[in-house]
Symmetry: none
Subunit: 240 residues, 2 copies
């Protein structure tokens, strides 16, 4: 079994943010959380509260003194950074990083820096590559858990096998073409009786457009019945 | 210039969450925030504080009484939902939704429900399609701002395009939501007068389904006119 990437929080400040990171991770199937020298200590009640149960449901948090300790078993390490640095490294977008992380057969890790300052150069130096999350250049203001969420989400969706866009009917049966043309024919008949077509010239185009409307609507059987009922109500068949 | 999609928060509870949503949006270049009946009121000091300056740097927030008001000018509306519903709609992943949103030439909008409950069926009925964010099925616990972030991020990063499959109107103008709800209201009125509702119990579901049908139909202005004409013709029969 492939190991999932570790998320390494380097010197995070608020316990609440650690909890939010755990929650973001587990949403995306990540469970290996490594915490380096957290300012407010560990374990942490605010972290527990903010995690929405993520620590009970799968996320395992471990505490380390240094970044080097935290990544000691890793074969591939990426460092997240908002700015390009004058270091010689591969730079990936978050989406590209997911592909790289998925390809790693050993233990991979992604480093995230403290809330205010981000990762320092000494931590970035430990990484094999950099990750930048593409964002609005005029307003780059992700919080720590949001950055963790986006990287984790990209990792999760890199094998997203969710079926592509589909039309969902919730079990309802779709009307077939005969039902639809039957409805449109009845409509035309009643429109005729109601004096809709003041000029015969307009009829072919208008009826074609109406059929086209219903044909593209992906109407269910139930909806076709409803329309028949509406026509009946409007023409007064139901008036008693 | 293409309009950016509006983010519509339906009955959000905490001001702080609204602020976090604004912050998430602007990170991804979105600025059109529409707030429907926020529990804790608007404007909001906690929202301002949580926004990290997003309201000063580009996000414009507007307040509405109802979801229908908030989307009145929209030609394409998506509803986010964690669960599949028994509604007849296109279903997109967040990534697919971005392609679809980019393809819309009119005003698009994405609806997000209240923190605890998500969107109700009456709001989902207003949408032309659904968005689900693919997540760990064992732990689906995004907060509101995180859901907004992921949808916004997908929109922002979807800039690459090869033209997606688009809905072609042949130059016809699409009806906006106000036109569609106006048509459905008139239909209901005439259905009532025609004795359609033999039982009042059925009315809410039936009308919601009818609205849902027209909301997903991508009706043009011309087609809306035609339907009004049909209704007029049919009710004319009743009077004779």
């Amino acid at each position: 079994m492939i190991k999932t990437p570790a998320i390494v929080l380097v010197k995070p400040q608020m316990g609440e943010n650690i909890g939010m990171c755990a929650r973001a991770m587990l949403n995306c199937g990540l469970t290996d959380l490594r915490i380096v020298a957290p300012r407010d200590g560990w374990p942490s009640a605010p972290a527990e509260a903010a995690a929405s149960g993520a620590f009970d449901k799968g996320v395992v948090a471990r505490l380390y003194d240094t970044t080097a300790d935290a990544i000691a078993d890793c074969t591939y390490v990426l460092a997240t950074t908002a700015n390009t640095r004058d270091m010689v490294k591969d730079v990936f977008t978050a989406r590209e990083s997911a592909v790289r992380l998925r390809a790693e057969t050993g233990q991979a890790a992604v480093l995230f820096g403290p809330e205010r300052t981000g990762l320092g150069n000494e931590d970035i130096a430990l990484a094999g590559g950099l990750v930048t999350i593409p964002l609005n250049p005029g307003f780059t203001s992700l919080n720590l858990a949001q950055a963790v969420l986006l990287v984790s989400y990209e990792w999760f969706t890199a094998v997203d096998t969710t079926a592509p866009a589909q039309f969902r009917t919730g079990g309802a049966e779709l009307a077939d073409a005969a039902v639809i043309s039957g409805l449109v024919s009845r409509l035309e008949e009643e429109m005729d009786r109601g004096g809709f077509f003041r000029s015969e010239e307009l009829r072919p185009t208008l009826m074609r457009n109406l059929l086209s409307f219903f044909a593209r609507s992906r109407m269910t059987h139930q909806e076709a019945q409803t329309f028949h009922g509406i026509v009946s109500a409007l023409i007064g068949l139901r008036r008693k």
